[in-house]
């Protein structure tokens, strides 16, 4: 193990040596955006690109968009992006997916902050409240729709969201925001940027929030799930220019969250989550290209309180508290360089260690991943560019801790190596000064979570009379699961409409998903395992996106977009839907419409965002995992409106009124508790 750390340190240190004769600086989003008069991004190929040139279907949500969205958290902002599905289960708990496929603990979307993964490997999901970032410090949110594993590796199956924060060396952000509202909502956000001599700067951000969950009626298994929500977050992000061409970044964060969340069995639980991270990054503009070394460690600790139903424990329901600990260590070295006038390459090598404790036996399940990737971009003509990227991941799985007597499994069963190759390709053709055509293909992979690979090991009791031959049995993850694969093709056309001061985007896509993963599907009674995850079959998708956005009279801006998606499941009948709780076909709305209208004059800014989702079904937990008691409830077509009105008293003082779910006091978004209207007033002071 020590040798591995040494190699990582050596790799990062080598960047400094390579930079001995170098030139340049790190990516300055603001300066490049000002130069090209459009957003820039690293999230598609890893090399800096203009948003209009990326070989992907991508939306960039600017700081201004975030501010005007009326949202008070990131899922609330993403709700207004076509093709992004949000399920708000509780006041602070949401799941996000791309183009349908949403579930509790949605696993198919990789989320990063400044390139650092914040996706939780242990359960394969993103816990949005525990992300160490405040809305006010976000420069832009980059949403890539479709697989992008060739750049980011496992779990960028349906898409990637990269949250880019302001750069303390380039952006001087100093503010205090106080917010209060319904659901006893109280929130304070403070951000300051500190100069560290002439060559460095640090941004310190602090966020604290207290509020309650909704007060709408709970389900029968949701007892005790509402205990009052709280979030405290601290992030320190330091950038220092070692030379004009070499920059060092050190970032540390910690977030403590307690809140009501929907868990994968479609029942509410109270989760206390602590995430912390340490990251070091050094980049240099050298004669060999842009070289970057990154080393980071994420720690994720979760205490989850749920209740078990009578069928499992004999009489009444019983509270269960489980702790999940997971660590991720990532070391990455990459070089982006240009050969000649027309060819850009990116070469990446990444090492990753991920582990999760198995509380029942005091051991752990872990995997080490070694990945190499290459990207080639060929500017064939000034108007035509081809990008091809591929990545190979080699994963070594392992386990310690042994098994309880009776379970016919051993740690040796976990000695397994998985190879996976993923790829992306894109052709971007500027047909004219007004038209851009994109042809995109991708093969992405979703790794089974550590929980499903064996981190999950629970003992269940079975009282007489429930029809099970044993007095007790186990639920367990399995090492035999395969990664889920998505192969996707897309054709997208963007056209500027100068007469309308508008942009039109049209995209058609088709994807084939195989080896879909379910946390609960198989039973192996002879092994005393009554509940285990499984690869349960295939699911295909196709759809059309049409989007228009523009401005008029300088004061008004507007947007109108429509998504028609069709999901077709081909799931193995051996795994009944009532056990797996997977039915993407019925659980995803076919039609989605987003519309927005905004107005700005003098100190006033007013915006309204509307979203419509057609009828779809949602699981309703009546019996908990493995009981088969989870019917699907039809959710009527749903229209939600978010709005914001703001008044700028002076350059440094602003008051905002934000509303979510404006149209109704309470509305059914899922089979879980109804969602209430939220109203907040905030005072912003900028220094």
């Amino acid at each position: 193990m020590k040798e591995k750390y040494f190699k990582l340190a050596l790799a990062v240190a080598s960047v400094q040596l390579l930079s001995a004769k170098s030139y340049g600086q790190s990516l300055d989003y603001a300066a490049l955006e000002a130069l090209f008069e459009e957003p820039v991004t690293l999230s598609v190929t890893g090399s800096p690109q203009r948003a209009s040139s990326v070989p992907a279907n991508m939306e960039i949500i600017s700081h201004d968009d975030i501010e005007r969205s009326g949202a008070r958290d990131i899922p609330g902002v993403l709700r207004h992006v076509l093709g992004v599905d949000i399920m708000r289960w509780t006041n602070n708990g949401s799941d996000v997916s791309i183009r349908g496929y949403n579930t509790p603990f949605s696993p198919r979307l990789l989320v990063l902050i400044n390139g650092r993964q914040v996706y939780a490997d242990h359960y394969g999901y993103t816990h949005w409240s525990s992300l160490p970032v405040e809305l006010e410090e976000i420069r832009q949110i980059e949403v890539v729709k479709g697989p992008n594993s060739a750049l980011f590796g496992f779990n960028a199956l349906a898409g990637v969201i990269n949250i880019v924060t302001e750069h303390p060396r380039y952006d001087d952000l100093n503010m205090l925001k106080v917010q209060a509202g319904t659901q006893e909502h109280q929130q304070i956000t403070a951000i300051t940027t500190l100069a560290l001599g002439e060559r460095g700067a640090a941004r310190v951000s602090l966020g604290t929030r207290r509020n309650d969950d909704f007060s709408t009626p709970l389900g029968i298994l949701d007892v005790g799930a509402r205990q009052g929500d709280a979030r405290d977050a601290l992030t320190i992000d330091t950038h220092y220019a070692l030379r004009d061409d070499v920059e060092l970044e050190l970032e540390a964060s910690r977030v403590d969250v307690g809140q009501t969340d929907m868990i994968t069995s479609y029942q509410l639980g109270y989760q206390e989550v602590v995430t912390s991270s340490l990251k070091g990054l050094i980049n240099a503009d050298t004669q060999f290209g842009l070289i970057e070394g990154t080393l980071y460690r994420n720690e994720f600790q979760k205490d989850m309180s749920i209740v078990l139903p009578a069928i499992r424990v004999g009489s009444g329901i019983r509270a269960l508290k489980q702790r999940f600990n997971s660590d991720v260590l990532v070391g990455r070295l990459q070089d982006i360089f240009k050969v000649g006038a027309d060819h850009t390459f990116r070469i990446t090598s990444e090492y990753r260690e991920t582990s999760m404790d198995i509380a029942l036996v005091g051991g752990e399940v872990y995997y080490d991943t070694l990945a190499t990737g290459v990207m080639w971009q060929w500017q064939m003509t000034p108007a035509l560019a081809l990008t091809i990227a591929a990545r190979h991941d080699q994963l070594d799985l392992g386990r310690t801790g042994g098994f309880p007597v009776g379970l016919r499994l051993s740690d040796a069963d976990w000695d397994r190596r998985i190879h996976e190759t993923t790829a992306n390709a894109g052709l971007v053709w500027q047909l004219s000064e007004l038209d851009t055509l994109r042809l995109i293909a991708g093969r992405g992979a979703q790794l089974p979570s550590l929980y499903n690979l064996g981190g999950y090991l629970a003992r269940y009791e079975f009282p007489p009379g429930v029809g099970y031959p044993f007095r007790f049995a186990y639920g367990s993850g399995l090492p035999t699961l395969d990664p889920s694969i998505m192969v996707s093709y897309e054709l997208a056309w963007d056209r500027s409409l100068p007469a309308l001061a508008a942009e039109l985007s049209v995209a058609v896509y088709r994807g084939r998903g195989s080896d879909i993963l379910a946390s609960s599907g198989a039973a192996i009674p002879t092994s005393l395992i009554v509940l285990s995850p499984a690869n349960i079959g295939d699911s295909n998708e196709k759809g059309v996106e049409i989007s228009l956005k523009g401005q008029f009279d300088e004061e008004w801006r507007w947007g109108l977009s429509y998504l028609n998606q069709d999901i077709d499941d081909h799931l193995d009948p051996r795994y009944p839907v009532s056990q797996t709780l997977i039915n993407f076909e019925k659980g995803s709305p076919q039609h989605t419409i987003n519309a927005n209208l905004g107005w700005n004059r003098g100190p006033w800014t007013v915006d309204a965002y509307l979203r419509y989702e057609s009828e779809h079904d949602s699981f309703q937990a009546l019996g908990g995992w493995g009981t088969g008691m989870a019917p699907m409830l039809a959710i009527n077509g749903l229209m939600t409106i978010d709005a914001r009105a703001a008044y700028q008293f002076s350059e440094s003082v602003r008051v905002d009124l934000t509303v979510q779910n404006l149209q109704k006091d309470e509305e059914r978004h899922s089979a879980g508790p109804m969602v209430e209207r939220g109203v907040q007033m905030s005072l912003l002071l900028e220094f």
Partner: protein, 174 residues
């Protein structure tokens, strides 16, 4: 192949209204000032840009004067303040400036430029893409309808001009 690429490049640039006689605009100047921030040794503070013109050509002189007016007492971008000084072609060798801006309408008289700029290691910028394509000038700027930047790598090398890698990956090079 190279000829084909150059032909296609010119076609696209013409399509984007990038013909040789394109009128220089304030927006061009702003893009120029911003692009200069991505040199590996970026200009900072007061930077004198020589506006090269042909005194025998009235249109060239007019354009040079218009650019001088646009820059006024100095165009600011980040830590750079770009100031203009009119430089007739025949004073190219003696002008004490940090960089040159080539006006349009210079035609073949700009042939003198290349050797002189290379000797003095002074970069030049132009909105006349033909000047960049021919290697007389290092960087070509187009600001409408979409910002495009073209760099002639050979001319850059001859004048000792180099750009940040990230910038090179976002522009067109020949």
């Amino acid at each position: 192949m190279k000829l084909l690429k150059v032909t296609i490049l010119l076609s696209v640039l013409v399509m984007c209204n990038l013909h040789a006689a394109a009128e220089v605009t304030q927006r061009d100047m702003q893009v120029t000032a911003r692009a200069l921030g991505f040199l590996t040794k970026p200009f900072t503070g007061d930077t004198l840009m020589g506006i090269l013109y042909d005194p025998q050509n009235a249109r060239s002189l007019k354009e040079a004067e218009e650019i001088q007016t646009m820059l006024g007492s100095g165009l600011q971008s980040g830590g750079l303040t770009l100031r203009a000084q009119l430089v007739p072609l025949d004073q190219l060798g003696s002008a004490s400036v940090d960089l040159f801006f080539l006006t349009g309408y210079l035609g073949d008289s700009a042939d003198l430029l290349r050797a002189s700029l290379a000797t003095r290691k002074i970069p030049c910028v132009s909105t006349d893409i033909e000047q960049v394509r021919s290697g007389r000038c290092v960087m070509g700027i187009v600001s409408a309808p979409r910002v495009e930047i073209l760099v002639n790598r050979k001319a850059a090398e001859e004048t000792g001009t180099s750009f940040a890698s990230m910038f090179r990956m976002m522009i067109l090079e020949i």
